[in-house]
């Protein structure tokens, strides 16, 4: 138990349902932007999405083909490791279940990779069973580049660095291979409810 910070009362903003806010997080109503480098701007005609690695046959979609895949419109709460949470965010995109349904693979892990060189690692079981999407709309509008457009991974049950912006593919792997932030001291799994922010949490 932490001792009281003398004179600190907190400026708690009213939250309708505190049970939706993980420990150490606060609710924000805007949409902060965080990234390790410049925002990439890949033209849509050069964009593709590829599933490769430990698969019988890699598969790839162009932007037009990707928009033709059956889409879902999840409304989810998101949690950033920098302490903000945003409730009831609405997205449109293709579920990772549907995408992985196009390949045969026994792999238990995958690496999401992005324009600009970003990577993040995820257990296949963390992105299947209706838990993850590749999203291209936010709030009914095309996803803005600063927020990861044209398309980003959306894995709302993990800290948001796992929801790779500017995602271009999933590489299935036999072993767990730490991604960008996972190599720089952040937690390998990133469950906000267990406050898995940093290595060893």
């Amino acid at each position: 138990m932490s001792p009281v910070s003398r004179g600190f009362l907190g400026r708690r903003r009213p939250v309708e349902d505190p049970s939706r806010v993980p420990p150490g997080q606060y609710v924000t109503h805007d949409f902060p932007v965080l990234s390790a480098g410049p925002t990439p701007h890949t033209p849509l005609e050069e964009w593709s999405f590829t599933i490769s690695g430990e698969v019988a046959e890699p598969v790839s979609w162009t932007w037009e083909e990707f928009l033709g895949l059956a889409a879902e419109s999840p409304t989810v709460d998101i949690h950033c490791v920098t302490k903000w949470s945003k409730l009831d965010t609405s997205w449109k995109g293709v579920s990772v279940d549907a995408l992985l349904g196009n390949v045969e693979s026994e792999a238990a892990w995958l690496t999401a990779w992005s324009d600009g060189g970003y990577t993040t690692n995820l257990a296949v079981e963390d992105v299947t069973g209706g838990k993850a999407w590749v999203a291209y709309e936010y709030g009914g509008e095309p996803l803005e580049p600063e927020h990861g457009g044209p398309a980003r991974l959306l894995v709302p049950h993990l800290y948001f660095w796992k929801s790779a912006k500017w995602v271009r593919g999933l590489t299935l792997t036999r072993d767990d291979e730490p991604g960008f932030w996972e190599n720089y001291g952040y937690n390998n799994h990133g469950d906000p409810w267990l406050e898995q922010r940093y290595q060893g949490d």
Binding site: M1, S2, P3, V4, S5, R6, G7, F8, L9, G10, R11, R12, G24, Y26, T28, D30, F31, P32, V33, L34, S35, A36, G37, P38, T39, P40, T82, K83, G116, G117, E146, H147, F180, W181, N183, Y184, G185, Y198, Q199, G200, D201
Partner: protein, 249 residues
């Protein structure tokens, strides 16, 4: 604050406030005595946690302003208008208080002498904080890596570490360029206005020299500066960004 082991958990520790330095009307530096010499790298940040009498807690991240060689850990905090933690740190905290800390955190937005330079640092407002750590680190090492800081501030009265930056710029490999965006003295001879392409051309090494570029500031500032540098031919993989502030929209 040192990690017990590479895979060990970063534990919460207490820092005792030994001094509070008013940098500007909105900004204070918290000088902290930490139990163990922390061994951070220049550019890293720490998490700060406050606890209310009823057990409610609030956490935020702050860049470390001190160099790895400095005796004390220094955080420089700007009071945000609607903030919850920053008004407490700037207005309420007193010498002798204990502050709960966890860190150091982050391994990418760091500068170490082993990295191939030269180094361009682009700061918007309180985004200058991690660059103070980098410049102090360079000075402590006597590093000959060329370092240029381009610092955008609203007015002279908002400039953080003004005198210290001038002293740091006395070292041969270091240059500090200040641009004022809203107010400037009548006799101001430096650049005026926001950081744009022509100013970056003037201050930055040309792209073929492959400067290592760090940009820190509010999200819109970082987006604009990084896009301008990419458009001018700088390799995106040589540009490291750190954004803060309420919104990018």
């Amino acid at each position: 604050m040192a990690r017990a082991a590479l895979s060990g958990r970063l534990s919460w520790q207490f820092g005792r406030v030994v001094e509070l330095v008013e940098e500007t009307a909105r900004t204070k530096s918290l000088v902290l005595e930490t139990p163990a010499r922390q061994g951070h790298r220049a550019g890293q940040h720490v998490d700060v946690r406050l606890t209310a009498p009823d057990g409610y807690q609030a956490q935020r991240s702050y860049s470390i302003a001190s160099g790895p060689e400095d005796e004390h850990l220094v955080l420089t905090v700007e009071r945000l208008v609607d903030g919850e933690v920053s008004p407490y740190l700037v207005d309420e905290l007193r010498p002798g208080d204990e502050l709960e800390l966890r860190g150091p955190i982050g391994g990418y937005f760091v500068w170490e002498a082993a990295l191939v330079g030269p180094v361009l640092m682009v700061a918007g407002g309180s985004g200058v904080v991690p660059f103070r750590a980098m410049l102090r680190h360079g000075a402590a090492l006597g590093s000959d890596v060329p370092m240029r800081l381009l610092y955008s501030s609203r007015a002279l009265s908002d400039v953080i570490y003004g005198e210290e930056l001038m002293r740091l710029a006395e070292r041969e490999p270091v240059e500090v360029h200040l641009t004022l965006t809203r107010e400037w003295p009548d006799d101001w001879a430096g650049p005026r206005g926001r950081i744009d392409g022509p100013l970056l051309d003037q201050v930055a090494w040309p792209p073929p020299q492959r400067p290592l570029i760090y940009i820190c500031g509010p999200s819109g500032f970082v987006e604009a500066a990084s896009q301008t540098l990419v458009q001018r031919g700088h390799d995106p993989s040589r540009i490291r960004t750190e954004r803060f502030g309420p919104s990018g929209q």
